[in-house]
Assembly symmetry: C2
Homo-oligomer: 679 residues x 2
């Protein structure tokens, strides 16, 4: 009943679609036709396959770089291949399909821990089961609730030390009540848990542990009234536009930047080959080979039966791309933004189109890219100011209750700003309490409304950042700030100062040394550099990492199961040797993973990361103590970081980079005012 219908409404299922691009870029995502091909090739040998992931099997880096290099000879043709993860006969299989020859290149069973992403179709089917399951129906009736108003939310179950024998794909269903509101997450039916085996699609466990009042519907709706809707109708919100943005296929060009944008079912928005023009060299220089959200870790802090296991790895368990939903022009993005679609495979292998899954727009927010007023020269005042105009690429993923707004902002200075915005609905617990003065013990959250506890939790958003600073061979450098005394420890009086800080530059040799837990007391500038390229002054070219929110780490104990699965969240920064198979911090099979194939496990190999192809992983973290203002829907809370040019260029390139032209963005209202002016 539940999700299937929705998907049909929300997403258009396609059998034939063609994207009009002259040349297929080696990193272009699979077309609907290609997804269909994958399905038919795999189905011919495995008729009952359930498709958990279908995406591009990327050509290796040298081929991709050859394709985009400005070499005069035409690049070699790159094979189009797909990578699929399917479930069949209770096993997970990894299959590589040749899309040209319609053949299977490899087909292997995955026998390790963990399972592939859960598909929306499985969620929907699982949610149908309790509606016909006697004990559940009885529980609903005993609570005096209407069965027709009960909705179901499937939750991943995590891993809590279960041995190999108990390994099966299950989902725990929790229930909400839509009576009187669309804000279903605000009305939990607390205390009932239905566990479903997703492969066999049967109920395997049922618990009705405790009865708690369902929070009231009143005050939970977040929709506009009809009058408010009416007021806004026809009023186009002006704002930044898209003049100067060129999009050919999946390649975006704007001002001094060009990059490739791709959709992936697991990662969502994938940026590749981001290069910035160097006005002195008259060439485009590579900065970021690939960047995307790799994993999210969202542990809740309530140890009770219905809550202890809520320790989500959202990207691996559900797919951050599958969770990306269409953007609303004029609200999610400026009305005049450019929009792009995405495609992924349904459980049955058929392609699904997500319309307007990305937007691209030029931003002028009234800010200043650089300025100076000089009054030192007698008789003159020099005032030079340049407005900041940038390009934003955005996607929004709604993972159940939470909405994540993922932004990449390209600055003309060479900087890439990465921001994630948290909004949506809190995951709340029903409670008997209607006032804090009734509370005598830890409720593991904030009483944000009557009978409604918003549970403490964290969000850790981990980015995969395969920076290739001016080429593949890079090093990770920590410029550690160290306090020293002039003239040494004895302070020889050579300076009236008793201290200053200077830099100890450490080129990190191996992965274990590359883990960084940031601390204000021991600051370092963290850089990815190309040790083989220097500026004319002799400085090594690089980019540095600058947090734009307070660095955070997980507070769970090291022996706790969710922490074992998401161990990398104890440091903000990891640097690993490039391995194209290591893109998912929580492992390829994150659902019920056991921490043996994640960023921590790979790093234990302690590979060399000096002057080689390396990957930077940065985790933006939030500890969330909810407050009443997060109810019934949460105002966006932003965090992020920037990657900033550091001796990458010879100088500030803004001086030689023309400012893009900025159009006005609401000619609707402009025309009106024009009409008023001219009568």
């Amino acid at each position: 009943m539940a999700h299937k219908t929705i998907l049909v409404l929300l997403l258009l299922t396609l059998s034939t679609t063609t994207i009009t691009t002259t040349t297929v870029h080696p990193l272009d995502p699979l077309t609907p036709d290609e997804i269909t091909t994958v399905r038919s090739v795999i189905s011919s040998s495995t008729p009952n396959a359930s498709f958990h992931y279908v995406g591009l099997f990327e050509p290796d880096k040298p081929s991709v770089l050859a394709f985009v290099s400005p070499a005069p000879t035409p690049p070699p043709p790159h094979p189009r291949r797909a990578f699929a993860i399917i479930r069949a006969d209770l096993a997970s299989r990894e299959i590589v399909v040749d899309l040209t020859n319609h053949s299977i290149i490899s087909n292997v069973v995955y026998d390790g821990h963990g399972f592939p992403t859960i598909t929306p179709a499985e969620d929907a089917e699982a949610c149908e089961l309790p509606m016909k399951y006697g004990p559940f129906v009885e529980s609903v009736r005993e609570r005096g609730l209407e069965m027709g108003d009960v909705v179901c939310s499937p939750m991943s179950v995590g891993w809590f030390g279960e041995g190999r024998g108990r390994r099966r794909r299950v989902s725990k269903l929790q229930f909400y009540y839509k009576g009187g509101t669309v804000n279903v997450y605000a009305r939990p039916v607390e205390g009932v848990t239905v566990t479903v085996d997703l492969d066999r699609m049967v109920v395997v466990d049922f618990r009705d542990r405790v009865v708690v009042p369902v929070p009231k519907a009143e005050g939970t709706d977040y929709r506009s009234t009809e009058e408010e809707e009416e007021e806004r109708r026809g009023e186009e919100i002006p704002g930044p536009g898209s003049r100067g943005i060129s999009i050919e296929g999946h390649v975006v060009r704007w001002a001094n930047w060009d990059f490739h944008v791709s959709f992936d079912a697991r990662a969502g928005l994938v940026l590749s080959l981001a290069s910035v023009a160097d006005p002195e060299r008259d060439e485009s220089r590579l900065v970021l080979y690939k960047g995307h959200v790799s994993e999210l870790f969202v542990p809740y802090m309530d140890p009770s039966e219905e809550w202890y296991y809520r320790t989500y790895l959202d990207a691996g368990e559900w797919g951050f791309g599958v969770s990306a939903l269409p953007l609303k022009p004029g609200a999610d993005c400026p009305a005049r933004a450019r929009f792009m679609d995405g495609f992924y495979a349904r459980r049955d292998g058929m392609p699904v189109r997500v319309e307007k899954v990305f937007c691209v727009f030029q931003r002028y927010a009234g800010d200043v890219s650089w300025r100076h007023t000089e009054i030192l020269i007698p008789g003159r005042v020099i005032r030079e100011v340049r407005p900041e105009v940038s390009l934003v690429v955005r996607s929004v993923a709604t993972v159940g209750n939470y909405d994540y707004i993922v932004d990449y902002e390209f600055m003309q200075s060479g900087t890439i700003k990465v921001q994630v915005g948290l909004t949506g609905i809190l995951e709340v617990k029903a409670s008997e309490h209607t006032h804090t003065n009734q509370i005598s013990q830890d409720i593991h959250g904030t009483l944000i409304a009557e009978n409604t506890i918003a549970t403490y939790h964290d969000h850790f958003i981990t980015y995969y950042l395969d920076l290739d600073i001016d080429g593949r061979r890079n090093s990770f450098v920590k410029a550690k700030m160290k306090t020293v005394r002039p003239g040494g420890d004895n302070n020889d009086g050579s300076s009236p100062r008793k201290s200053y800080w200077t830099i100890e530059r450490e080129t990190v040799k191996t992965e274990v040394e590359g883990m960084v837990s940031m601390s204000p007391a021991e600051p370092s500038e963290l850089m990815l550099v190309n040790p083989n390229k220097k500026t004319r002054m002799g400085n090594v070219v690089g980019y540095r990492l600058i947090p734009k929110s307070a660095p955070a780490i997980s507070l769970l104990s090291d022996d706790d199961y969710p922490q074992i699965r998401a161990g990398w969240t104890k440091n903000q920064v990891w640097v690993t040797a490039y391995d194209p198979s290591q893109r998912w911090a929580g492992g390829m099979y994150a659902d019920q993973s056991q921490g043996d194939d994640n960023l921590v496990a790979w790093s234990r190999r302690n590979r060399s990361i000096e002057n080689t192809d390396i990957v930077l992983w940065y985790t933006v973290g939030f500890h969330h103590i909810p407050c009443q203002e997060d109810f019934p829907v949460m105002p966006t809370l932003n965090g992020g970081f920037e990657l900033r040019q550091t001796n990458f260029f010879e100088r500030n390139i803004l001086l030689k980079t023309p400012l893009p032209s900025i159009e006005s963005d609401s000619c609707l209202s402009c025309r009106q005012s024009h009409n008023i002016i001219t009568g």
Copy 2:
């Protein structure tokens, strides 16, 4: 020669000006007439006074609150008084002037350490001295430089343990060379230091220690070429506008916010009485009684003779308001922003107008204030998204080489975002080096261009935040996140989880406990709450502090003199008992201060800060390792924090707060496209 001329060009000197306001607000800054009154009243008794500060002597808080309270009885008339700091007969005096009676209320000599701000006129006069000083003229000639191209930059001298006997107001002059460029800071004449007694206006010391090549002019100019200028001419940059902003006198009203904006010679932009409408209570509720930049600490990390003392307290030594210069519409702020002027007293007491010293504009940057897509309800897709529209108040202070962009952004959610942007010109040291391979010892900076070392340094921007959350009596609460084991330390197996975090809420009793050094390993949510006001749920109303850049602390040793003066930079957060005389973190007399009258010294009294009027101090810090891209002018680097409603409201007020209407912001280009469309 130098600065006097400039000031005449840049700033209009006024003898008569009236501001058209119906009622004088008790926090309105002094009018030019009032400044003139202060001058004439003080000059009548002290004819040779040098005016170092003239500003409003604020009525006490209860009077101000009575004025703005919606009580039906008319508020009592508030006296208009001015506070002045003058120098006369080698002494600093604090004088309170009654502006109604034109009389002196009090007049006391200040006998403590430190001196008042250095005036631009003193800087200009001091800079004339070396030009006629034989040994200096000889040094310039010996370097083969043209005297007419030498420009002078006066530097505050700090304090390095000198005893009381050596207390005199001096400034150290450093020199730059404008030959061939307007970027004078890029061309230091290294090695020469002229020390001037500012009271007696004589050279008291001269050193020519070392001769170093002056860096070349080539590549240092940051101005547009004539062609580039021409290209931009006539192209109005569109962007956010000012529809819906009401400014009456100094009171700004926009959407659900109202506040008072004032100019102060020391602080620059001062926000007062910021209140936000509560849609449930149909009243405006006070959040911030007063907020402004209190002090900047900018220590450089080179212990050599010409550099060791560069440990600026910019606001106290020069005046952050005096350093604020006119904003350029269409560049510093959107063309359609609203602009406000400021006035301060010159050294001779005459009022100086700074045109367009603030701007106020409505921002829509394409962002989302909240959103959610709900697919859990069978057969329906609910997608609600609201664009983020906010109000920005901006000022830019240029303290010599650096430009600080100071923004306060009011969000409709109730949040105030505070951002500081660093741009301008680096303070560089001339060097023999033209390539890093010539460097064999610590050069205390980065070789950013030939013969040019940009010295390592810090920026600590300390904000005075007299939050009065829903009233004057507030408390400071740390919600400390603590990891606990379910069932206690022995983990009784009641939960499969082995850990979670919960909150230990500590209401801070005294100032010493109120100091916070942030650490990712021991996170706390830091809140100012009103313990006397609760939500209907029983939560204490409050606002919390959220850093928007990595928290930083000073790395200087505790026994180093600059650190003694700016000791508060070892913590990011301080909370003090409200005392209207304690607004300047570095002390009222910051020039050559000795740390005995600063935020640290006041806090040592360890006053109670529980349920009383308290002040939050937050320091945004940057460790700056310069890079080549910071040359010849630095792309803006932002940092800041936000003050976010936390159980202040009963719920997310965005749902009940109408979105402001957003105009289109460039009807110039709109009209053009309209014309094209209609032929």
